[in-house]
């Protein structure tokens, strides 16, 4: 990913950093001057810059990963591949099998149910698997869940507590949207108990390594509870056994306590930097929020909006977003704004334009996060304002088919993740998973970006396909720029950390449809090899 040297056959490494990249015979001056060993273990492999996911959520992952997966899409996890379960019968068989494997008495949490594949879910259906063991079936979207009788008993949720309108169908054990708040509150002892959370973070560590990452971004530290999250991350994601570093980007409103005002935010965010350790680093970054989630169709869209006429949501009043943005912009921060729909992106760009008029800045790194649906005109504005894009391209794979029918119509659904346009306009553009929204597999994100094939097998807007080279940049050097780490990692050149992802084959020359299946042989973090045994 160093355009001055797109390929090489040797890398010289010392003290965790790259000393020289190129050809072995040209390295002789270094070799003559210093004692060295020659390591040919990767001679049949392809050494890529270490992959970077610039936007995921370790805390959410820690809650999800201890659960069992039964999913319509394939999920590659370190402890095994979760093969697609696409019918109701298969779903029931999987539930029965998991119930049989699990130690008696322990509650069984299942994630990944979706009615389009798995048929109607309900309390009785789960009771048929077991009425003794507490079982909770979580919807893929995370916005609803079902419990069997034993789980209702375990959580002490009683029928007389449930009122009409609470979005709880007690007789069916179904909790959705607002009703989910009650269920989560009562399930928290099982979900967020310190030992459970720590076990979940251990699993996350494996997932990150198996995805081939050497750097990640936690793009909302403090999502649930700032201090407990920061402490758990510090104890589990730093240490010699951790093969990646994490950029911590604080949740802009979670760092304020009590009567602290928005204007206090930048100083508080600066204090966080004092907590930095070798692998975990806050920086002069902040995360802010604009419109609702793309997965739940709560993004704000410009006309003609959603087919059924419903409206998206603002996550904070535009005036408050502006107040936050102004505080951090004038303090010189790199601002990351969660913006999913084209109206959300429009507001974000309007505010950025206002900030540029108040105090012009260059290299400010302002990043639009998620970038679900945008317009071609906005691409030009992003370029003009000097912003960059970090996109969850998996939306296109999982949602474009259904959104074309039951959301926003074919034209706009096919043009989600308008990424080739970003590259054409020379906008720094990265891919992320927002894990657990998409698999934490950069090669999978790259595969979607290059092929733009949705889950139904249809190519959606071939004009926006990236080349393999662009996609690889989007999961390495461009992602490093998004996290403010490009001076240290993201490409292979003298002086950077020796962060590599070792593949069996070259993603730039293999059949594009195979990119997501390329085997990751090992990762190298600051010169230390971490083999993958899969």
């Amino acid at each position: 990913m160093n355009p001055s040297m797109p390929a090489a056959d040797a890398i010289l490494v010392g003290d965790g950093r790259i000393i020289e990249v190129g050809h072995e015979d040209k390295m002789q001056p270094w070799l003559d001057a210093h004692p060295h060993t020659v390591d040919r273990q990767f001679s049949e492999k392809v050494i890529c810059p270490g992959f970077i996911d610039p936007h995921l959520h370790p805390t959410m992952a820690a809650v999800l990963l201890p659960m069992e997966f039964i999913t319509a899409m394939r999920w590659k996890l370190p402890w095994g591949i979760v093969e697609p379960t696409t019918t109701a019968e298969q779903f029931d068989q999987r539930m029965v099998a998991l119930h049989a494997q699990k130690e008696p008495d322990a509650p069984l949490f299942i994630w990944g149910y979706h009615q389009l594949w798995h048929g109607p879910m309900g309390k009785q259906r789960i009771n048929n698997v077991s009425s003794e063991r507490p079982m909770v079936v979580w919807h893929r979207s995370f916005h609803e869940l079902y419990m069997n009788d034993a789980a209702l008993k375990m959580t002490e949720i009683n029928e007389q507590d449930i009122k009409p309108g609470a979005q709880v169908d007690f007789s069916n054990g179904h909790f959705y949207e607002n009703g989910l708040g009650l269920a989560i509150n009562r399930l928290n002892p099982w979900l967020l108990a310190p030992d459970k959370y720590a076990a979940g973070l251990q699993r996350l560590k494996q997932v990150v390594q198996h995805g081939g990452h050497t750097s990640i971004g936690d793009l909302a530290t403090g999502l649930f509870d700032f201090e407990s999250e920061a402490n758990a991350l510090a104890s589990i994601l730093d240490g010699d056994d951790v093969p990646f570093r994490t950029r911590l980007v604080a949740h802009g409103t979670a760092i304020l306590k009590g009567s602290q005002s928005i204007e206090d935010g930048p100083a508080l965010a600066m204090q966080l930097i004092e907590r930095n350790s070798h692998r975990l680093k806050f920086g002069k970054h902040i995360k802010l929020f604009c419109d609702g989630a793309f997965f739940s169709q709560l993004s704000q869209l410009m006309e003609p909006g959603y087919i059924d006429g419903h409206q998206g949501e603002w996550l904070m009043p535009p005036e408050i977003l502006e107040q936050n943005m102004r505080a951090y912009w004038h303090a010189g921060f790199q601002i990351h704004v969660h913006a999913c729909g084209d109206l959300g992106i429009e507001l974000t760009l309007d505010l950025l334009e206002k900030m540029q008029a108040e105090k012009p800045r260059f290299n400010h790194g302002f990043t639009i996060e998620h970038f679900g649906f945008s317009t071609p005109e906005q691409i030009k504005r992003i370029k003009a304002l000097g912003a960059q894009v970090s996109a969850n391209v998996y939306y296109l794979h999982e949602l474009s088919d259904i959104y074309s029918r039951e959301g926003i119509g074919y034209e706009r659904a096919s043009q989600m993740s308008r990424l080739a346009s970003c590259f054409t306009n020379d906008i720094n553009t990265a891919l992320h998973s927002d894990f657990t929204m998409a698999p934490a597999e950069p090669l999978n994100s790259a595969w979607v970006a290059v092929n733009r094939i949705n889950h139904a097998g249809e190519v959606m807007c071939a004009q926006e396909c990236l080349t393999a080279q662009q996609a690889l940049e989007a999961i390495t050097i461009n992602a490093a720029h998004v996290l403010g780490m490009a001076a240290d990692t993201g490409s292979l050149r003298a002086g950077k950390y020796a962060d590599f992802t070792i593949l069996d084959e070259d993603p730039l020359t293999c059949d594009a449809m195979r990119i997501r299946d390329l085997r990751i042989h090992a990762t190298v973090f600051e010169g230390k090899v971490f083999p993958l045994d899969s």
Partner: protein
């Protein structure tokens, strides 16, 4: 013993429309009855006279007042706050909503065990409302807030002189029609607080409906073969959970039946006039389309009408 539910009065309204000023006015005038819990977004802009403060909790999130009321901050989410205050001796909640929340969604959130939404008032800034409702980003939101209110609290009349709601709100969205106008009070009206703590008559909101859903869709099955009543009743009991209402006529061996199902309540009674047999299933537009499931389960007796993927759209559940 059946526990009494605690009523919640919601104070909604867009940012800057006067919610906090109104709450400060109530606290300063010391007019709140005893045992009211006031839930606010944060204490930053709340002024509580030091004379009124009896105690402050260790974490600073709960302030007990000498008149028997408490003020709490809404930390993270509403559900957590309800759990936190459930041990306090209170018999009414006054809830200050976030500026971007919609009343109908808030009402749903207030159906937490032990609580119910009694009244929703929306503050309207007399000076700026007409400009705000045309705003590119929040115009629709502020109009929806007004349309979903039980009571409108008109603020800043001293600056504006007078205030009138526009005759016709922008009907750009289907759910903005068909709602009765809310009663208007000036924020300075001394009767206002007593009105807000009372149940409302002639609500916009229909209790029992999941009215945070902006709109409803439907699909229709047409009958081609009579169905046994027991079988019919079993099928009606097991329709997908997102279906909120079923109505229509069904041909059975014992004659035509009128079917009406709302939530769990289902009635099957002989129809008194000839009708075309068939059932309409109504579900929130945001929920999954149940057509495919219905088509499979009801196949021996009924078939789906028309293109089920383009389901009919209902502006309001009727």
């Amino acid at each position: 013993m059946k526990q009494r539910l605690i009523p919640i009065t919601i104070i909604s309204g867009y940012l800057g429309s006067g919610k906090t000023t109104f709450i400060n006015r109530l606290l300063a005038a010391d007019v709140l009855p005893s045992k009211v819990a006031v839930l606010v977004n944060d204490f930053g802009d709340i002024n509580i006279d030091a004379k009124l403060i009896a105690q402050i909790s260790d974490d600073g999130s709960v302030v007990s007042l000498t008149n028997g009321c408490v003020c709490c901050t809404l930390q993270d989410d509403l559900a957590n706050t309800f759990e936190r205050i459930s041990s306090l001796a209170i018999d009414h909640v006054l809830l200050e909503a976030s500026g971007v929340a919609l009343p109908n969604k808030l009402r749903t959130q207030c159906h937490y065990p032990g609580y119910f939404p009694q009244h929703c008032a929306v503050t309207v800034d007399a000076e700026n409302y007409h400009k705000k409702r045309q705003d590119k980003y929040v115009g629709n939101l502020v109009q929806q807030q007004v349309l979903q209110a039980d009571t409108l609290i008109i603020t800043k009349l001293d600056l504006a002189g007078s205030f009138e709601l526009p005759d016709s709100h922008d009907p750009g969205r289907p759910n903005s029609t068909d709602l009765s106008p809310a009663k208007q009070y000036s924020v300075t009206d001394p009767q206002l607080i007593y009105h807000l703590l009372e149940p409302v008559k002639g609500l916009n909101y229909k209790p029992g409906s999941s009215s945070d859903m902006a709109s409803f869709s439907s699909c229709t099955l047409e009958q081609h073969r009579p169905i046994d009543i027991q079988e019919l009743s079993d099928l009606l009991a097991t329709v997908p959970a997102q279906i909120e209402r079923i109505k229509g006529f069904v041909d059975t061996p014992t004659g035509l039946q009128l079917i009406q199902k709302v939530g769990k309540r289902c009635s099957i009674v002989p129809a008194d006039a000839a009708q075309n047999p068939g059932l309409v299933f109504i579900y929130p537009s945001q929920a999954a389309n149940p057509a495919e499931v219905l088509q499979v389960n009801w196949k021996p007796w009924m078939t789906l009408r028309g293109n089920h993927l383009h389901s009919a759209h209902h502006p309001e559940q009727s």
